[in-house]
């Protein structure tokens, strides 16, 4: 893995930690607070190479595990399994570099991750309060609907600037950017 990927991974994890621990709890009501780690991980999976995406999902799941999981490792495992599930169902749609696909992938990833977390947590012997669990799952999905597009866009711009995109996605974003510049009368070099 090239150094820029490691740098990008560190930036994503740091951003997720700051958003998750400082920004969202302070400024966003609990009803629409998303799981930023899953949203960023799914966006990285959608835009970047598959290995980088999976590494991002792992690292972001690990930070979520560290700061807010009842059983260390469980959230990481659930993130990985849900990412694999999303890739298995819709990898072609997800990885073509579309913002909308990353957004929907983030919502699906959030839902699957926490659904698996509830079920596997129950299997692991955690005390699951069902009403509260479903309510929290609902608020997380709602939060993903509200913030998912913004997270995907920010993650995409960051990865584009750091040149972390997979080749087809990079070509598509570059073409879009050239088109937008041409409409404003500017010419961008390839």
């Amino acid at each position: 893995m090239k150094l820029r990927y490691a740098f990008g991974l560190m930036l994503l994890v740091a951003g997720a930690v700051v958003l998750q621990l400082a920004v969202f709890p302070a400024f966003v009501p609990a009803a629409i607070r998303p799981d930023v780690g899953v949203l960023l991980g799914m966006a990285a999976l959608a835009f970047g190479p598959r290995e980088f995406g999976l590494a991002c999902v792992f690292a972001l799941g690990l930070q979520a595990d560290l700061f807010g999981s009842a059983r260390f490792g469980l959230l990481t495992l659930c993130s990985l399994l849900s990412a694999r599930l999303v890739l298995w169902v819709a990898w072609r749609e997800l990885t073509r570099g579309d913002l909308l696909a990353a957004w929907v992938g983030g919502i699906a990833g959030t839902f699957l991750t926490h659904l698996l977390y509830i079920l596997l947590g129950r299997l692991c012997g955690l005390e699951v309060l069902w009403g509260q669990a479903w309510l929290t799952l609902l608020t997380l999905v709602l939060g993903a609907c509200v913030w998912g597009l913004l997270c995907a866009w920010v993650c995409g711009r960051l990865m584009y600037r750091l040149n972390l995109f997979s080749l087809p996605v990079r070509e598509r974003w570059a073409a879009d950017e050239r088109l937008a510049a041409a409409r404003k009368g500017k010419v961008l070099r390839a």
């Binding site: 930690v17 700051v18 998750q20 621990l21 400082a22 920004v23 709890p25 302070a26 609990a30 607070r33 998303p34 799981d35 780690g37 598959r50 290995e51 999976l54 590494a55 792992f58 799941g61 690990l62 979520a64 595990d65 560290l66 700061f67 807010g68 999981s69 009842a70 059983r71 260390f72 490792g73 469980l74 959230l75 990481t76 495992l77 990985l80 399994l81 694999r84 926490h114 977390y117 509830i118 947590g121 129950r122 012997g125 955690l126 005390e127 699951v128 309060l129 509260q132 669990a133 929290t136 799952l137 608020t139 997380l140 939060g143």
Partner: protein, 307 residues
């Protein structure tokens, strides 16, 4: 190409395996790592104003670890139980001390203003000193409390006694270092009183009540003279200050019932402001009231206008 294929297909199971291995990390290490991470991030959290808030991600709310009380190891030394008992005893002692200190706090009196010179002034607590109740005895079917202050401390006979800012009784005997007080409901007690709403004066007395209170509650009675005084239950009774023991405006109790004994005679049932069964420490008034030069009755005259 072959290498990419292998890498892509090996990476996912490897990461899953790694996540499963994380399950085996002991909780102590996780807590330590979590604390260290939060400590490292604290400047950032403080900067964003999130410090002190619930910064747990939402996922933490879904499931919580089952926290069972750790079972004592077999053959654990009995010192653990002894330490636990000592802690419990300490807790009880602290709770008792806390209650004692709370009871010594002045209670908010319903009367905080007194009229003087046409203006209202806040009532000041009269000079005095605190005392602890050291004994309680029923004499002639009336409870009497012994206090740990006496004549050597400046206590005088008939001094007024307060509890949490309200009148609770009067000193009835004084020894050099100990004194005794009678409660408001004592049958020999008599305090000059005034109704706050109607401003009518009267005398508050202990002893037999016009009617019994709830569940055998001991009440006082207040004799009032007046044709139409318009007293209602709930009206506050305070000292009038005319008996020389208490300054005016101290809380005595609340009217709970009225009874008319004639054209101009009223007898009111008054519930004392203090719960007399919970008095542990009191405040004895030592301030001396101004002596009034009452005119001396001349020899051979029965009344002022008598013949």
């Amino acid at each position: 190409m072959r290498r990419d294929y292998v890498r892509s297909h090996v990476l996912f199971p490897g990461l899953v395996l790694l996540a499963l291995l994380l399950f085996m990390v002991p909780g102590v290490h996780v807590e330590s790592l979590r604390a260290r991470s939060l400590s490292a991030l604290s400047p950032l959290l403080r900067l964003s104003g999130a410090a002190g808030r619930n910064t747990q991600p939402q996922a933490a709310l879904i499931a919580v670890p089952v926290t069972a009380m750790p079972a004592p190891p077999p053959g654990a030394p009995p010192e653990n139980h002894a330490a636990e008992d000592a802690l419990r005893a300490e807790l009880v002692r602290l709770l008792y001390e806390n209650g004692l200190l709370r009871s010594a706090l002045p209670a908010p009196s319903p009367l905080i203003l007194a009229e003087k010179d046409g203006q209202r002034h806040p009532l000041a607590t009269p000079a005095g000193l605190g005392a602890d109740v050291i004994a309680r005895k029923v004499l002639w079917q009336e409870p009497v409390l012994a206090l740990d202050r006496g004549a050597a401390d400046g206590i005088k006979l008939h001094s007024g006694v307060l509890h949490r800012g309200a009148v609770v009784g009067r000193i009835i005997s004084v020894a050099p270092h100990v004194s005794c007080m009678a409660l408001l409901t004592h049958r020999g007690m008599s305090v000059a009183a005034r109704l706050v709403g109607s401003r009518v004066e009267g005398v508050l007395q202990g002893g037999p009540q016009p009617y019994a209170g709830e569940e055998g509650e001991r009440l006082c009675r207040m004799a009032v003279v007046g044709r139409d005084i318009n007293v209602k239950a709930g009206e506050v009774v305070v000292t009038s200050g005319y008996d020389g023991s208490f300054p005016p405006g101290l809380w005595l109790g609340v009217v709970v019932g009225t009874k008319k004994n004639g054209d101009v005679q009223w007898e009111l049932a008054v519930r004392p402001a203090c719960n007399e069964n919970a008095v542990e420490c009191v405040y004895i008034i030592t301030a001396t009231m101004p002596e009034v030069p009452w005119p001396v009755m001349p020899e051979g005259r029965k009344t002022v206008g008598g013949r």
